[in-house]
């Protein structure tokens, strides 16, 4: 059994919360006392049934306003998989929440109201999915019950979406007609849409292969911590602890340590009381090198056969996440895995209107703005392009005045 992390964006009216509520409810993931709390709540659907949306509305302000204002993580499990849902609001003022939720997901669910077809927010959500490099997309055409379960309506929406998907280079898109409210094609296949031959949403989510085993050739491990027991019996022990971001390290592999560029060979890979032949993407291990090289937190161990880029000048997509606008005259901290260094945004190349996908020149970068910038860093970063290696192609900006995380960066090119 493995884990599928998926992301949903949607506005109140799409029935996104209802869809998630339905997934939880129909997979028996709601426990009795939570159900009791639900039933005693005074929010009900028009027909008197339980409003499943309440299940995903966490904070009091959200309950009062009936909207989702943050990222909520929800968990459920079937016999085949463990699921982690990053559930975010879909309005434009919550773009940063969507970006946050999308950053850890390997699949996205896009909801389309069958009555409205592809609208502005569909473009916005799909753009974020594409920006954050989520490879698998499921388009749920919801509220099919409101359009008499019409195949014609469904097909016309698909045709429209295909154009958008192509424009955004979304390659793996699956379409499912559903009614979250009535439960059609969410967990069980619907009897109301005989014309639909595909799987129910849950069945699809259980089966989809999300390449969770990273086959990348780019072996990368940022060093988080140096283990040095300094006891009599382990006097010379020096292990580099970290989580393999991508690729695989094997015993005796030639590796480089960046930024110093020192080269060495992997002598030993440890995981607690085991010695391993290899360390794979996702695993947290301790690596020992044959040579005595100076390594500390913030350095990255990489395979010598596929080196990352190194630069102090990087072109990147930026999503601004703070109420205080970007100030191109001040220094920020950039955090790239375990490495932190100072940086400036030296140039704004363009901003994107995420409702229309149009690019335009800009001087300002405010909350929820997305666009292309040049980042100038104090120390060179050893990075990969986001499209090649999400984990080593992303970074955050931290404002040293407030310590807040103010920006999300996706590296697109080293500037020559």
């Amino acid at each position: 059994m493995n884990i599928l992390k998926f992301f949903t964006a949607g506005s109140v009216d799409d029935g996104k919360s209802t869809l998630i509520g339905r997934l939880l409810y129909d997979t028996d993931s709601i426990l009795a006392d939570q159900l009791e709390a639900l039933q005693s709540s005074n929010r009900k659907n028009d027909d008197g049934t339980i409003d499943l949306a309440i299940l995903t509305d966490g904070l009091r302000a959200e309950r009062e306003q009936g909207i989702t204002i943050d990222v909520a993580y929800k968990y459920f499990q079937t016999e085949k998989r463990k699921f982690i849902i990053a559930d975010t609001p879909g309005h434009i003022q919550y773009t940063r929440n969507m970006v946050t939720g999308a950053s850890t997901a390997n699949l996205a669910i896009i909801l389309i109201d069958a009555r409205n077809s592809v609208v502005e927010q569909t473009i916005r959500h799909s753009y974020i999915v594409s920006l954050l490099g989520i490879k698998h997309v499921v388009v749920c055409i919801n509220k099919m019950d409101m359009v008499d379960y019409s195949e014609t309506v469904y097909n016309s929406i698909i045709e429209k979406y295909k154009v958008l998907a192509q424009q955004l280079k979304l390659e793996d898109v699956t379409y499912i007609p559903v009614s979250a409210l009535k439960g059609d094609n969410v967990v069980q296949n619907s009897g109301n849409m005989e014309w639909y031959e595909g799987e129910s949403l849950l069945h699809f989510l259980e089966q989809v292969d999300t390449d969770h085993l990273d086959r990348s050739q780019l072996a990368r491990m940022p060093v988080q911590w140096v283990v040095r027991p300094q006891t009599d019996e382990l006097h010379d022990y020096r292990g580099y602890a970290g989580r393999v971001l991508s690729g695989t390290f094997n015993l005796n592999d030639k590796v480089n340590v960046l930024p110093s560029g020192a080269s060495s060979t992997i002598e030993k890979i440890e995981f607690f009381d085991e010695e391993l032949d290899a360390a794979h993407a996702g695993e947290s291990v301790i690596i020992h090198l044959k040579d005595d090289v100076d390594i500390s937190r913030g350095d990255t161990i990489v395979n010598a056969s596929a080196l990352p880029q190194e630069s102090k000048l990087i072109e990147a997509d930026l999503c601004w996440m703070d109420a205080r606008a970007l100030d191109t005259s001040i220094m920020y901290n950039i955090q790239h895995n375990s490495k932190v260094t100072k940086c400036k945004i030296s140039e704004i190349l363009h901003k994107v209107d995420i409702n229309t996908l149009e690019k335009h020149a800009a001087e300002e970068f405010k909350l929820n703005d997305i666009g292309r910038v040049i980042v100038k860093t104090a120390d060179a970063l050893a990075f990969d392009l986001y499209d090649d290696n999400r984990a080593n192609g992303s970074a955050i900006l931290v404002d040293s005045r407030t310590n807040l995380t103010v920006g999300a960066l996706m590296f697109r090119a080293a500037v020559e």
Binding site: A37, R63, H280, G282, S284, N337, N403
Partner: protein
């Protein structure tokens, strides 16, 4: 390329280890909050996996309400001796004796709320800048939105509206003086995941997690262990029952469930079929719909 089997428990474990090492790397004076419950026991195991053969880069901190199950304290002391790490105890009784908090009265009196003060005092006294805890997002709806690195202000308060975006696997631990960060390495685990991990790792637990016979009373529809810490009166009828505890907290606010589960396998079967969620057995969440959110804002774990 070699093949490998990386299942969901491996992934959750690797993520938690990564988070613990980020704490070690980013903070000057972290601490691991240890309650003696299964979640913090799991954290200790994860810390061993993150830092051995080195020492933990943090002490364990136990906020002792003085109303503990004896079995928990026995377990704690034995475990600390086994792992050879430092234990710091913050005492709620001491906070009461110093007049910093006032013992609650009435039938539902508990020291659960008082421990917030002791916790904040202990953090201030030792100047901890990060406190690792075993909270999980599946426990409660306010927790579902909390970050893995969650900033608390000088007064220990959590502000759900001012949470930092947390992207990819990058954790921003930068804080101002006086603030601290609560870190939740097992945020993405469910109760069942924790139990499956305990089974897989063969982790020993305090005996109260397993079925045993005990004197109990019924309070607000739930079974409570009869103890001197519970304000009982003539209306309370004490009886023997075969029970176990699903969480380990203060004796005055942790309810028992009827159970015959004597082995981890029994417990996992029981939880899989259960219709009461874990925090349902905690009276402290029942006060109002927003109970947890309010306590978290006030500095509760």
């Amino acid at each position: 390329m070699s093949t490998y089997n990386f299942d969901y428990l491996d992934e959750l474990e690797a993520e938690a280890i990564h988070i613990l090492r980020e704490v070690a790397g980013q903070f000057e004076k972290p601490a691991l909050l240890f309650s003696g419950g299964k979640d913090s026991i799991t954290l200790v195991r994860l810390a061993e996996k993150a830092f051995r053969p080195g020492k933990f880069p943090f002490p364990l901190v136990h906020i002792d309400t003085g109303h503990n199950f004896e079995e928990t304290i026995t377990y704690r002391d034995k475990m600390v001796e086994r792992i050879g790490e430092k234990l710091i105890i913050g005492s709620v009784q001491e906070s009461i004796d110093q007049g910093k908090v006032v013992e609650q009265t009435g039938k539902n009196a508990s020291r659960n709320a008082l421990q917030t003060v002791t916790l904040l005092d202990t953090i201030a006294k030792h100047q901890f800048d990060a406190c690792i805890g075993g909270a999980r997002r599946d426990e409660e709806k306010a927790r579902a939105k909390e970050r893995i690195f969650s900033v608390r202000d000088e007064f220990g308060q959590w502000d759900p509206k001012r949470q930092r975006p947390e992207l990819w696997n990058i954790y921003n631990g930068k804080i101002h003086k006086g603030e601290n960060i609560r870190v939740f390495p097992i945020s993405n685990w469910t109760e069942l995941d924790v139990w499956n991990y305990i089974r897989r790792e063969k982790i020993e637990l305090p005996s109260i997690y397993f079925s045993h016979e005990r004197d109990v009373i019924t309070r607000n529809g739930q079974l409570m262990a009869a103890s001197p810490f519970l304000n009982m009166d003539d209306e309370d009828v004490v009886f023997r029952k075969q029970v176990r505890f699903r969480t380990v907290g203060d004796m005055s606010c942790t309810a028992a469930v009827e159970s015959e589960a004597t082995l981890i396998d029994d417990i996992i079967a029981e939880i899989s079929a259960s219709k009461i969620s874990e925090r349902g057995a905690r009276l402290d969440d029942k006060v109002s719909e927003a109970a947890m959110e309010d306590r978290k804002k006030g500095g509760y774990f």
